[in-house]
């Protein structure tokens, strides 16, 4: 700092320094940060959420490269590893060995590790795709209801209320189980997967639709929408360019929260015997088979149970982090 020529008081010097600092801060602030950037920076600091996210990425990789990782056929029988008297695996901890990291199934002797790895495909496929169905339906119908109001709104809202009051699990089970074995060129497990994705997604859309409708209702009265309208913007322009970008945050939050719920629903359906058909492996199905062995071979039940738990926990941790990161109030 240069020495002032006149009246060098103690007061002016620091105030000049403060000004410089302020100017510096303003220059930084002017750059501006998008919502996505702010959210990403918050998310980066949330170690639990990051850990959850990493597990999710890992699971997706496992599902994608299942044949490589499993290293063996999940449907191959190894009856030589089974105690012929009790039908339970030989050796300790359900037959854990260098060839079978998590042991083998009772009676058939199929490798549990390979079945878990292949089961990840089913869980993630149903979890993600059914969430996609719910998001598309919920966003489109929610925006339409909120934006157009009137009879469109009352019709969509009635349907949403109705669906939310429905005994959902019951209907999902019913719908999945009455579907024929062959349709649209799919057979067996393909049909079940297709139907599960559609039905779980269909019962999930009102949760997203409600939020989107509410947000749209409040957003469409904002000044910037008014401004766009007065400049002659058409309805489609306002819908896609003005409203949709502001709905992205709540949609992302509800989607990340919905995926673990859908994974649990898929596991529940498979557990109840209306999920994918054997021999295709799924975690829920393994647990339901393990009921009969909970006393003689507890390992058989613990492995798929932990697989579901870890997956859902990872998604929940990540989802909570995303919600907190995108929350404009930044409380919690």
């Amino acid at each position: 700092m240069t020495a002032p020529l006149h009246e060098p008081t103690a007061e002016t010097a620091p105030s000049a320094a403060e000004e410089a600092a302020l100017a510096g801060a303003e220059a930084k602030a002017v750059q501006g940060r998008s919502l996505g950037r702010i959210a990403w920076e918050r998310l980066k600091r949330d170690r639990l959420a990051l850990a959850g996210g990493m597990v999710v990425v890992l699971l997706v990789l496992v599902a994608m490269f299942a044949p490589l990782i499993a290293g063996q056929d999940p449907d191959a029988y190894h009856e030589n590893l089974i105690d012929p008297l009790f039908g339970t695996p030989k050796g300790s901890l359900g037959g854990v060995s260098a060839d079978h990291y998590f042991g083998v199934e009772p009676v058939s002797g199929r490798d549990i590790f390979a079945r878990i790895v292949y089961g990840a495909r089913i869980s993630l496929l149903v979890g993600f795709l059914s969430a996609l169905v719910a998001v598309v339906l919920g966003t489109v119908l929610g925006i339409l209801a909120g934006f157009f109001g009137g009879w469109v709104d009352s019709a969509v809202s009635r349907v949403m209320d109705g669906l939310l009051a429905f005994p959902q699990l019951l209907f999902i089970i019913a719908l999945v189980s009455v579907m024929p074995n062959q349709m649209l060129g799919l057979t067996g497990t393909g049909v079940r997967l297709f139907v599960m994705i559609l039905v779980i997604g269909f019962f999930g859309w009102p949760y997203i639709g409600r939020v989107v409708r509410g947000q749209t209702l409040s957003l469409r009265e904002r000044e910037y929408v008014e401004a766009a309208r007065s400049l002659g913007a058409g309805r489609l322009y306002i819908l896609f360019k003005e409203l949709l970008p502001n709905l992205v945050a709540p949609i992302i939050v509800y989607t990340t929260m919905m995926i673990p719920t859908n994974i649990l629903t898929e596991a529940a359906l498979s557990f109840l015997g209306v999920g994918v058909k054997p021999p295709t492996s799924s975690w829920g199905q393994m647990l339901s088979a393990a009921i009969d062995y909970y006393d003689s071979d507890p390992m058989y039940m613990v492995v798929p149970g932990l697989a579901i738990f870890i997956t859902v926990l990872a998604f929940n941790l990540f989802g909570d982090g995303v919600r907190d990161a995108l929350d404009p109030k930044g409380s919690r």
Binding site: Q168, L264, Y294
Partner: protein, 350 residues
């Protein structure tokens, strides 16, 4: 008293007449909803199989039946009639009873008639009344537990935000919502029933032995309550935190009210409203069959009945349970909405 919104509309119109009008409107809506659900169930179990080429009459008689017997059943049960007349006969049967007749073969089914099982040929109504108490005691017992533990854990967490207690409780709650109930159920069976041998986890009807019944119910109660307590603790904490940040709480504190009053009277009241809504929906859904819990613990409740019905394509039992479930959900929601207005003066009955 608490707080009112300052929206410009008319002030609260919750006189007795308004309440009555509201109740009637809600009951009417509930009745419409019930009819819609039954029609949908009929469609799922009649139209979809028809489209897939499965004959309900055939599924009643069995695979190797002679065509005359199939035709007789079709006529007797009215399975050849159009959907709307079958739905109508079903509803009429519930109130007036129903007489099935085909030629000389006549069966009468008295007043609350839900028809006969396609498989066991039992009347449905006694099956429902047999199984309802099991499911009801499971749902209500668990609800008491989860409200007690879930809500208080959530409130304490919100009040001691950031403390060790808060973190611990929230970690447990997060784990709780991530665990499938059939896994915790199996684990608890393996540990407490098989491993330690503390509990004989067989379901025993309460008329036979009270302690036996209690022993059979305790693990299902705890397992079910753990899941819901985790959910409720998370929601309670989030709601409470949001409410503690509201202006009226600051005002209450500024007025010099004791912290106990601020929390106990002002904050708790608003926290309870969303909890009550959830409770209504969850209880309703559980009464209609805690399918997963009942399957895990082999409890002979409604959930198991409907699951078997679905697996055997036994329409009458599915219809019966669905009707009870829907009724329970709608009633629970109705009760909750009325309670809502009592708890929260901001809610207007409109």
């Amino acid at each position: 008293m608490g707080h009112r919104t300052d929206s410009g509309g008319p002030r609260s119109r919750s006189g007795p007449r308004a309440v009555l009008a509201y109740l009637i409107r809600r009951l009417f809506a509930a009745a419409v909803m019930l009819v819609v659900i039954i029609v949908v169930v009929f469609c799922i179990f009649f139209l979809v199989p028809k489209w897939a080429g499965v004959d309900p009459a055939l599924s009643f008689v069995g695979k190797q039946a002679d065509p005359a017997a199939v035709e007789a059943i079709r006529v007797k049960l009215g399975l050849g009639d159009p959907i709307y007349s079958q739905v109508w006969e079903f509803f009429k049967g519930i109130f007036t009873g129903r007489t099935y007749a085909a030629g000389g073969d006549v069966t009468h089914c008295s007043a609350p008639c839900f028809g006969y099982s396609f498989r066991s040929e039992q009347a449905i109504w006694p099956v429902l009344t047999d199984r309802l108490p099991v499911t009801l005691s499971l749902a209500l017992g668990a609800a008491v537990l989860w409200l007690l533990f879930g809500v208080s854990a959530g409130v304490l967490s919100a009040l001691k935000r950031g403390s060790l207690w808060d973190r611990g409780a929230m970690v447990i709650a997060l784990a709780g919502v991530s665990l499938p109930i059939y896994f915790t159920g199996l684990l608890s069976l393996a540990i407490f029933s098989y491993g330690l041998g503390w509990i004989d986890a067989q379901y025993v009807p309460i008329e036979q032995s009270f302690t036996g019944w209690l022993g059979g119910m305790i693990l299902p109660w705890i397992t079910l309550a753990f899941l819901y307590a985790a959910m409720y603790a998370r929601i309670t904490r989030a709601t409470m935190l949001e409410i503690l940040g509201e202006d009226y709480i600051r005002t209450a504190r500024a007025k010099g009210l004791k912290e106990q009053t601020v929390i106990g009277k002002h904050a708790m009241r608003s926290t309870m409203t969303p909890i009550l809504t959830m409770l209504g929906m969850d209880l309703g859904a559980l009464i209609g069959g805690a399918i997963l819990t009942e399957t895990t613990f082999s409890l002979p409740g409604l959930g198991q009945a409907v699951l078997n019905g679905i697996k055997n394509q036994d329409l009458p039992i599915i219809l019966g349970v669905t009707l009870i479930t829907s009724l329970a959900v709608l009633l629970a929601n109705l009760v909750v909405d009325v309670l809502y207005a009592v708890i929260d003066p901001r809610v207007r009955l409109s």
